[in-house]
Symmetry: C2
Subunit: 359 residues, 2 copies
């Protein structure tokens, strides 16, 4: 499987060629799976390569070939949903003959730095997860290479976008809760995180549609556990709890669930909680979170296909794939405490009884 090359250098095509007694070009053909090499020779080349531990050098390959056939993915590493997306990107990219490079943004390494790294590695396409870049910035990137953002819109920029019909998902959530009899439905929003604005807007619209304008309650938050925890504390500190909370995403819902759990509040008995993402978290057997399912794999596939098609034809107009989400009703949503059936459309604003569990 392995033999050291004279000089300890990493073996090159020339080494393989010499060993087999053919030209470099022939070895190249074999490794690119191109016609033009005899069956027998092909076999011998592969054998020799294996013996030498030869591995094609993608830097050189990249340089020689005009195109890099590499897709760069920028991610933040802290959203489990992004992990799901990445797992969807790999197989689809491989299927289409593309390589994938990952670059994380992090504290001290902002988004543009992460993107620069990808570009300098010659990624010809970029998939941005959880990007908070401005439209102008996206547009600039979009002219340089094929770009798709996932999880947000990017109208006005020369980039493709793949996201969920946030509005539809939110509407399903509110409808579901209202049908169960809820009226005091609060929303913990995601601040500036991708998708948050749409979810907030849709929540407001859906509440209005149900004549629950007066009940609209948006608690500022973020897409993480801390926001859920903070919101939970806020609710607990108040006179009465909402009967249902629609959290900005699953992580936020988790934080909320935790705080409610520790305060002895029964979910869904006293409070219903619904999340958004359907990430690994919510699948977990016993957490059993009602949430809105976004199909990570399909989103990833769309994204990869978008950038690949754009690479083939850069004159394409920006496209937007809006996938329908699906409410997944699990164990954290049920009828509110007092409701025996669905509530009528009366406008009584008082909740039947005050909720407040001791610690």
């Amino acid at each position: 499987m392995e033999e050291t090359t004279p000089g300890g250098r990493r073996p090159t095509m020339a080494d393989v060629a010499k060993r087999v007694g053919v030209s470099r070009a022939l070895v190249s053909l074999v490794f690119r799976n191109q016609p033009g090499a005899g069956e027998e020779t092909r076999r011998r080349v592969l054998e020799a390569a294996d013996e030498l531990g030869y591995r094609p050098d993608s830097a050189a390959r990249l340089l020689a070939r005009g195109r890099s056939r590499t897709i760069g993915v920028m991610l933040t590493l802290h959203q489990p949903f992004e992990a799901d997306l990445v797992e969807g990107v790999y197989p689809e990219a491989e299927r289409l003959g593309y390589d994938v490079l990952l670059s994380a943004s992090a504290p001290g390494r902002d988004e543009s730095k992460a993107v620069e790294a990808l570009l300098s590695h010659r990624c010809e396409a970029l998939i941005l997860l959880g990007s908070t870049a401005s439209i102008a910035r996206l547009d600039e990137l979009g002219r340089r290479s094929a770009v798709v953002v996932i999880g947000r819109t990017a109208r006005g920029a020369n980039v493709d976008s793949v996201h969920t019909a946030e509005g539809k998902g939110v509407r399903q959530v509110v409808n579901h809760l209202v049908e169960l009899g809820h009226r005091h439905i609060a929303h913990i929003d995601g601040g500036k995180e991708p998708g948050a604005a749409e979810r907030r807007r849709a929540y407001r619209a859906a509440m209005r549609r149900h004549q629950l304008t007066e009940e609209i309650r948006v608690v500022p938050g973020a897409h993480n556990e801390d926001a859920g925890i903070a919101a939970g504390r806020l609710f607990l500190s108040e006179e009465r709890l909402p009967t249902a909370v629609f959290a900005g995403n699953d992580r936020c819902a988790m934080g909320l669930l935790h705080t409610l759990g520790r305060a002895g509040i029964d979910v869904p008995g006293e409070v219903s909680v619904v999340g958004f993402d359907d990430s690994h978290l919510s699948h977990l057997s016993h957490i059993d979170l009602s949430t809105v399912r976004q199909d990570a794999v399909r989103m990833a596939e769309h994204a990869v296909r978008f950038v690949v098609e754009r690479l083939d034809d850069s004159t394409l107009d920006p496209r937007e794939a809006v996938l329908d989400p699906k409410l997944v009703v699990r164990g954290t949503s049920a009828a509110p405490p007092s409701a025996t059936g669905s509530a009528g459309p009366d406008d009584c604003r008082c909740s039947p009884r005050g909720h407040r569990a001791g610690h």
Copy 2:
């Protein structure tokens, strides 16, 4: 900031050079921050580069320079602790003048595939997070390039390793719980995950040291929420709960906390829970998990320094950095229900009262 190059090609050094009216080599000097270019020229070169939107091509750079100065990081994307590690790798690598490439293993993309990708991108060093590769496999990799594994040992293989003194951490956990008066201390282990074997072993040893051999209870699990949930259900289905549970890591502890919370069990009133990792999760204000702190940033720094030093001198013997962990006592551990002080070293094996909260 940007102008299209004739032909729409990505601009190269030659383009910049021509624009300024100097040679290619001069531009190269400027971009490598090497002496030999006049102050004025340097400024003009950078200016022109900016106007053209020039970005050095790392493939070409890599190829020309013998060394790639690139560190590849393999990760699984699903452990928040790994995200913390990656965030530590970036700044240290940058400080030492190295580039970082990420590659994820995932279902359908096993570890060796992820590593192959890194190697073919000419990473000269590898940092493996959560590797489950065999010693033989690691050894093979270690001869090909500079390799460090984080979070596990790799004795016998030609690779460096950075991990926590799992034993010490576990001992602190058990000591802490015993001092609080606990005797029924169960451990949810991490199966084959990195570090799990050591934690399990240390748990057994620590229990024996406290003459609690008879109380040793290892529940098979994994380093994720599901395992904690499953273990929680198992405990709840039994006649009596352990008074304390030491979970294999924080995610597992989270799952356990959740299950206990929903069953109305008071933590730490009835059951104490301690995790391992001190990942973002446990910091969260209201979760407030007692856990064992592993310093991700320091681990990452060690790892980067190890591989860099090994690149400078490949004859180095394999080294092992074992960092001392630190028990962080937060809100999920307290004295067991009956204990008023610390328990004496008697060998009564019955718990003072059976615990079992209704659902």
